[in-house]
Amino acid sequence: MISFRKVKINSLQGKTLVHETSFEVVSAKIVGFYGPNGSGKSSLLKVLSGQVRDREVSGENWNDEMPIFDKNLSAKVRSQKILYIGSDFQTPFQISVRELLEMAKEANPSSQENISEVAESFGITSLLFRSFDEMSDGEKQRVMLARGIVQSPKWLVLDETFSKIDLDHSFHLIGELKKRAKNGLGIFIASHDLNLISEMVDDLWFIKNGRIVVSGSIEDVLTTENLKQLYPDRVVHVVRSPDNGKKKVIY
């Protein structure tokens, strides 16, 4: 269970990024974050996973019995509980994908995942011996998703990690993530592609101006009226996919 109690996030310059927020996520599920640029999605997700370095953060963040904000909590223990993965990966250093996955595996000794199997199911076997710094942005994101699975935390936080992955791979990877979620992995995912995340999320939260404005199951939240709250000037329709009945937006 994640319990966020009266958490406030300011930038170091004192600007409010996220207003006082409290929420609970009782059991592992897939939660989607959606909202305009600069609404505080990333701040919320980073702080949720314990990255408080370049922000001023107050309040409490409990993950099961673990106080995520506690300075004495080791990075190792925290990363086994909740792991943040962003969208932009740059490194000036050469290192192969396989070596990266081995690092991930070593970061969590209790991980039961097998590198070759995860690579196979995530479709990155052919990338294993490529150097990470030489790959395309989309390939890097696919590799980092696999890395998150290899490291096997309780919660995985994906901050627009799908932003450059092609349609085919996206759907395949969503399938893989959903399998893991069935086995107890909790996922937070921020994305600007509602039609993509509607394929996977249980809950959907709308974030605007540093506040969670709506939250609940995707069936309840994804409506034309709620979207109007986020983007008042935009005409957006919510329809159902003829294939699987999931909610989709057209605009």
């Binding site: 370095r53 290192i95 970061a107």
Partner: protein, 313 residues
Amino acid sequence: MNKKNTTIVLIVAILLELFLRIDFGNTALIITELRLPRLILAFAVGSALALSGSVMQTVLNNPLAEPYTLGVASGAALGAAIFNSIGLNLSFFGLNVGAVVGAILVLAALFKIIFKTQLRFDSVVLLGVMLSFTCASMLAIWMSLADPVGVQSITFWLLGDLSRIGLKSAIALLSLSSVFYVYFYKFSKKLDAFLFGESMVEGFGVSLKDTQRVAVVLVSILVGFCVSAAGMIGFVGLMVPHFVRKKMGTSLHGKILPYVFVWGGICLILSDAIAHAIAFPLELPVGAVTALIGAPIFIYLYIFQNKTRGFES
């Protein structure tokens, strides 16, 4: 790059350093009294600088970081000059304590600023370059005000000089360098976590602040002693880690650090052999040789051995 060719090159370098341009009158004496201490010192300083450069590049995630671009070396030089001028010649196995103090002060200042303002890593090297300029100009002012004899002795030292230290001090420095190597080697996994940038360090279960602190303190101590023993020898710390990473195709510290250590030593031994042989009986400052030979080789390697990267992006 493997054990075999590294060993061969090391042996060739050692032989060159010991026997090149030797006066056959009193060979034994020259070798034991002059060449051997230089050989050991060259290996110790070269390996220590390469190790330091490698660690700095990693923990700051910047390929340009090394003791010199971060101002550590200038700080050491300034410290040594000031301590010398005010007659405070504290020594530790013949090594200058002033230099160590200067090096640590500069890095401490640098990291105080980083941790206080939480600057991004990218800005750190820029800040280091500024600190380096500040120290260099303070040194220049100090030298123009100090007595000319002292200045002349320090000028050569500033350009790098491996000939002033006795066997005992050279061995002391080699032990220091080796101990630090062993420590950093054991530290490999933590350093690896820095390879993907600052935002991902903690995701690999490694504390960013603690690791950076330990690395910075150790590197400044090591560089301080190097500068005090051999003056300012640039470039080894920048070039050797890149060279090794490129040749091995990986940046994992458990794999590269042994080669960084040995090749750092080889690099400086060869440079010193060239420095004392090429204009015999005159001697060139070894610091000038490392950069003069190293820079073109580095540019060549970077451009021509780097077909997949370098020109794109």
